[in-house]
């Protein structure tokens, strides 16, 4: 177990990384420092869990890294691309092609069926895509018999699987998930997490996921801990016990 905060990273094989990332909401007395000089890198082909107490800046970090929000200081990179240099159009393309994002809930467009939701980013880009790959993703998440169903005909767990499948289907450089299993029971959650892990191990996908759950975190290769907007701890090959210990440690 290392207790040293990660040093500034410029990794050769990072799918995405942040350098001195800062985010301040508001100004003056009421300013909220959601992120304070965060330096972090996410290696290609690795599954990272991000943990930390509520309000510690996890969602903010995800959003800024995925180009959904802008930092007030520092820089985030997807591959070699500095996200802050992109205009709205380029950001949109980045989201469409380089990044997959899974929200906690309401991930799907209600008028489109499961398969259409999955191919949506590629359709939006007008890209030709690999149908075989899409089918493979769909069957891997166990949705083969549900592809023509609309979101309101799917259970919450099935909806999240569709969301995961969509994030993976376009083979993005990196997938971010903000508590993707936060609304699900542990069985369903375990299914989805092992699928995510499989995507990383078998397909070389890079995934970063925020979670509050120690068991969920144990599916990752590595767990990072945020507190008060700072990266405070890193844990390799987390197990539920190690994660509990770390949380207790940090709280004391």
């Amino acid at each position: 177990m290392t207790t040293v905060p990660p040093a500034p990273v410029v990794m050769d094989n990072a799918a995405a990384y942040a350098v001195n990332a800062s985010k301040v909401y508001g100004a003056g007395d009421t300013a909220v420092h959601a992120l304070r000089d965060v330096n972090v890198g996410f290696e290609r082909g690795r599954f990272t869990a991000i943990m930390g107490p509520s309000g510690s800046g996890k969602s903010t970090l995800m959003h800024c890294m995925a180009g959904l929000d802008r930092l007030t200081g520092g820089e985030t990179y997807i591959g070699d691309t500095a996200v802050s240099t992109l205009n709205d159009k380029q950001l949109t393309e980045l989201r469409r092609e380089k990044v997959g994002f899974i929200f906690q809930a309401f991930n799907l467009i209600p008028t489109l069926n499961a398969r259409e939701n999955i191919t949506l980013p590629m359709d939006l880009g007008g890209r030709d895509y690999d149908n075989a790959w899409v089918d493979e993703v769909i069957s891997t998440v166990g949705l083969a018999d549900r592809v023509t169903h609309r979101p309101n005909e799917l259970s919450g767990g099935q909806q999240q699987r569709v969301a995961v499948a969509r994030a993976l289907a376009s083979r993005p450089a990196i997938v971010f998930g903000d508590e993707p299993t936060g609304n699900l029971d542990s069985r369903t959650s375990a299914d989805i997490l092992s699928f995510m892990r499989q995507a990383v191990d078998d397909l070389g996908q890079t995934i970063v996921m925020v979670t509050h759950d120690a068991v969920s975190a144990s599916y990752a290769h590595r767990a990072l801990f945020l507190a008060d907007g700072r990266m405070v701890q890193e844990l390799a090959d987390p197990t539920p016990d190690k994660v509990y210990d770390t949380i207790l440690n940090l709280e004391s």
Partner: protein, 856 residues
């Protein structure tokens, strides 16, 4: 509770503004109609008083039904010798014979064209000296005397005339003379209402209008303090038969009444359109409330679950509606001023000037506007309010309480409204309601029910149709098209409600287009086989009567085979007054073809008559029978029926046809409506001989530039152009419905997008560009508006077809459907979607991705 309502309104301010716009549009149209009509009425009342201010009493022909339509108002009718007699009376300070003739004399501009307004007529009046007795005020220059004229400023401006200049004036006898322009006049204080006036002194105007020795009326000023009534008592015994004396107050009252009647008709027509617009906006208001309440069902359900009663929920929504209704009525009242000014401007573009005067808001207008505004808003809020209150608390909290009505429920309720509507409309068309008024009420109520019923039923197929319309969009635009298509069809009820306003607007417009196209086609067809003459001489725009003096010189031309003048006058059978027509019967048959069924037309003479066969049958008359007519000069004469005809449309639907000599004998001033000329060998209007002959005819009419010489097809085209103008005016007024419909689409789009905020955030998060988002929203609006337009056009074709079919074949025998025009309406319908999507689309594209995703 009140706090909650106020909070609710404040929180939903943006959305409520949308409802407000819909109510304001409808209410403004109503208040604008009232304001305009009231203002016109009071200005014209003032003008009547001003114009008659100096006249204590007037001598005039006793108004008779026979003379009122022609001659009486338009041309001088009685001998002027009485004027001197009256002037000599000690009780009379001044007696001035007056001439007022319509469309007899014109000024001619430098290009040789007559100067005339687009709509209103040109008057030739006598200048009766000092302006206290006169209806006219001299604004510049000196009064006309001898070879001088005074004209109104509008005419001077249009003709480019200035005081002191010599002006060409076309006289009734067909010559052009030069007159010096001595002064500029105004009618009363308020302008001429767009009409032109040419004033000369009495003898000159009599010469100019070919009415020497005749006058329309005598204006009297009493000597000393003698009252108008006393003056009347003094003068009356001295008057010959057929004349009467009337005091000032009666004159003013009559005047105001006759203006009032015209204004009432005008105001009622405007009001009719206003209520159509209001009707359309009700759908928008209802739809907006339905969406708003739907969106708040979750919140309302929460209130229910913490103890609010269903009544309290209803009360909340209704109070909100009342507040909006009040506010909208207030804004609509003021908006009415804008609408009234706009209408004034629009009509003035068409050549009709309204007199200057302040716009008037009467208490009645305020009362009606508030009543209508409140009623419309509250009624629209009622159904959504009750629906909201019915939703079980938990259901509302869980899934927003959106419960779709079952299809069978819709079919039943829709049919309950539609079927009586169809029956009522059908009965009205079939003429079962006797009076015109009831027929209109039947058409209006029936039509409204049909629209409501179709709107209710259209929710059944709106989804499928929108989805079908979206198919090509999807295949062209790909995923954005797909999203547009899905969104347009996901809530059929909303799509159909949104499309309803456009449907009604386009149905009415299409119906009117079909009606006018059919009228034009039928009319053209009738003219085509009815007019046998090669050339037609008449006076545009309305075919005002003119002097028949041209007939003789035309007959003298070698190129001319026959000439026939065609005149209108009136007569009575047993006190029932009829429009009559007269022509030169020896040559008339070669000029118009009215479908002779029995007898001969050539032998009418001065004691014969031709009768429309249906009229003859109705009255049990046959060839050889005799009919007695009374004419406007008081004469009674018998006529033998010598011919029957079956094509009355040719003669303006009139049943009685005389030789022109009869008309000439019994009217005060002989006129014709048009003259038909057949040329020798005039079959081919393209030939050089024809052109040559036409040139010779034109040379004869050269000094009467007000008279057009047109060949057959030109004449027909000119008539059609006029009908087209009426169509443009009606469609222009109905276009207001389209404006309301436009706001309806904007409303729905804005609200739907608000509802879908999170979805939009998500779309953006997974890589939808702003322009893709705008595209999807644009096409969604286009699909909805196209759905409405299609439905409207289909209904319009149905309504137009039914109406034309219901009109008796003797007026309209077949339906013409202007497909090209209808296609243009569809395109416009689609474009409305494009424009309506601009604002909602821009709003959606501006949304911040994360805020949108976090949106409740």
């Amino acid at each position: 509770m009140l706090k909650l309502i106020v909070r609710g309104i404040v929180a939903n301010l943006g959305r409520l503004i949308l409802t407000l716009i819909a109510v304001v549009l409808g209410v403004s149209a109503v208040s604008g109609s009232f304001i305009l009509a009231d203002s016109l009425r009071s200005v014209f009342n003032q003008i009547s008083e001003d114009a008659l201010a100096g006249i204590d009493a007037q001598v005039r022909p006793i108004p008779s039904d026979i003379a009122s339509a022609f001659g009486g108002g338009g041309l001088p009718t009685f001998d002027e010798s009485i004027v001197d007699e009256l002037e000599a009376l000690p009780e009379v300070d001044r007696a001035a014979g007056q001439v007022s003739a319509i469309e007899r004399v014109y000024t001619v501009d430098a290009e040789g064209e007559i100067v005339r307004p687009a709509g209103p007529p040109v008057f030739a009046n006598s200048w009766s000296g000092d302006s206290e007795v006169s209806a006219f005020t001299l604004v510049d220059g000196t009064p006309p005397s001898g070879q001088q004229i005074a004209i109104d400023q509008g005419q001077a401006q249009k003709g480019g005339f200035s005081i002191g200049e010599m002006v060409d004036v076309s006289l009734a006898n067909g010559t052009i003379e030069q007159f010096e322009l001595s002064g500029l006049i105004d009618f009363g204080e308020g302008g001429t209402g767009g009409a032109y006036f040419i004033l000369m002194d009495l003898p000159t105007i009599q010469r100019a209008t070919e009415t020497t020795g005749l006058i329309n009326s005598i204006d009297l000023a009493a000597a000393g303090d003698l009252s108008g009534d006393d003056l009347v008592d003094t003068v009356s015994p001295l008057l010959p038969d057929g004349l009467e004396a009337v005091p000032q107050d009666v004159l003013i009252e009559e005047n105001q009444e006759s203006f009032g009647q015209v204004i009432d008709i005008f105001g009622n027509i405007l009001l009719g359109f206003a209520f159509v617009i209001l009707f359309v906006s009700i759908f928008i208001i209802y739809n907006t409330f339905a969406i708003l309440v739907g969106q708040r069902t979750r919140q309302l359900g929460l209130l229910r679950s913490i103890g609010a009663s269903a009544n309290q929920i209803r009360f909340m929504v209704l109070i909100e509606a009342v507040l909006i209704g009040l506010l909208a009525s207030l804004i609509g009242l003021l908006g009415g001023i804008g609408v009234a000014s706009l209408l004034k401007w629009v009509f003035s573009q068409g050549g009709n000037q309204f007199p200057e005067g302040p716009l008037e808001i009467q208490p009645r207008t305020i009362a009606v506007v508030f009543a209508v505004g409140l009623f419309v808003t509250v009624a629209s809020a009622l159904i959504p309010a009750f629906r909201a209150a019915k939703v079980a608390p938990l259901e509302a909290v869980r899934d927003g309480g959106r419960k779709e009505r079952s299809a069978s429920f819709r079919v039943v309720t829709g049919s309950i409204v539609l079927v009586p509507g169809l029956i009522l409309f059908g009965l009205a068309l079939a003429g079962s309601f006797e009076s015109t008024r009831n027929t209109f009420v039947g058409l209006g109520v029936g039509g409204a029910l049909i629209f409501i019923g179709v709107s209710m039923l259209s929710a059944l197929f709106a989804g499928v149709v929108a989805s079908g319309l979206g198919l090509p969009v999807q295949s062209i635009k790909g995923i954005t098209g797909r999203l547009a298509r899905d969104n347009a069809s996901r809530n059929p009820q909303r799509t159909s409600a949104t499309a309803t306003a456009l449907m009604i607007g386009l149905a009415l417009i299409t119906g009117v287009a079909i009606l006018t196209a059919s009228v034009i086609r039928n009319f053209d067809e009738i003219l085509e086989d009815a007019i046998g003459s090669d050339l037609v001489l008449y006076q545009p725009p309305q075919g005002q009567p003119f002097s028949p003096a041209l007939i003789e010189p035309l007959k003298a031309l070698d190129e001319v085979e026959t000439v026939s003048g065609y005149a209108a006058f009136r007569g009575a059978i047993d006190d029932d007054v009829f429009d009559l027509r007269a022509w030169d019967s020896d040559t008339g048959a070669s000029v118009i073809n009215m479908g002779l069924t029995d007898g001969t037309l050539e032998s009418l003479g001065t004691d014969g008559i031709a009768v429309f066969d249906e009229t003859a049958t109705e009255r049990g008359l046959s060839l050889g029978d005799s009919v007695t007519f009374e004419f406007e000069d008081g004469a009674f004469e018998d006529f033998e029926i010598r011919a029957l005809y079956d094509n009355s449309q040719v003669v303006d639907g009139v049943s009685w046809l005389f030789d022109r000599a009869v008309a000439s004998e019994h009217v005060a001033t002989d006129t014709v409506l048009w003259i038909g000329v057949s040329l020798v060998g005039g079959d081919d209007p393209e030939s050089a001989a024809f052109a040559d002959a036409q040139a010779k005819v034109e040379a004869i009419v050269k000094d009467q530039p007000q008279i057009e010489v047109q060949n057959n097809s030109e004449f027909r085209q000119a008539q059609i152009d006029q009908l087209n103008q009426i169509q443009i005016l009606i469609i222009g007024l109905l276009a207001m419905c389209i404006v309301v419909a436009f706001f309806g689409i904007v409303n729905t789009m804005v609200l739907s997008i608000l509802e879908r905020t999170r979805e939009i955030g998500l779309l953006r998060a997974v890589g939808t560009t702003r322009s893709q988002l705008r595209t999807a929203i644009r096409w969604e609006a286009v699909i909805v508006s196209l759905f409405g337009s299609l439905l409207g056009v289909i209904m319009g074709i149905g309504l137009g077809w039914a109406t034309v079919t219901a009109i008796p074949d003797s007026f309209l025998s077949f339906v013409a459907i202007p497909w090209g025009q209808i296609a243009i309406y569809l395109v416009i319908g689609a474009l409305i979607g494009v424009v309506a999507a601009l604002f909602p689309g821009a709003r959606a594209a501006r949304l911040n991705v994360l805020d949108a995703i976090a949106h409740e």
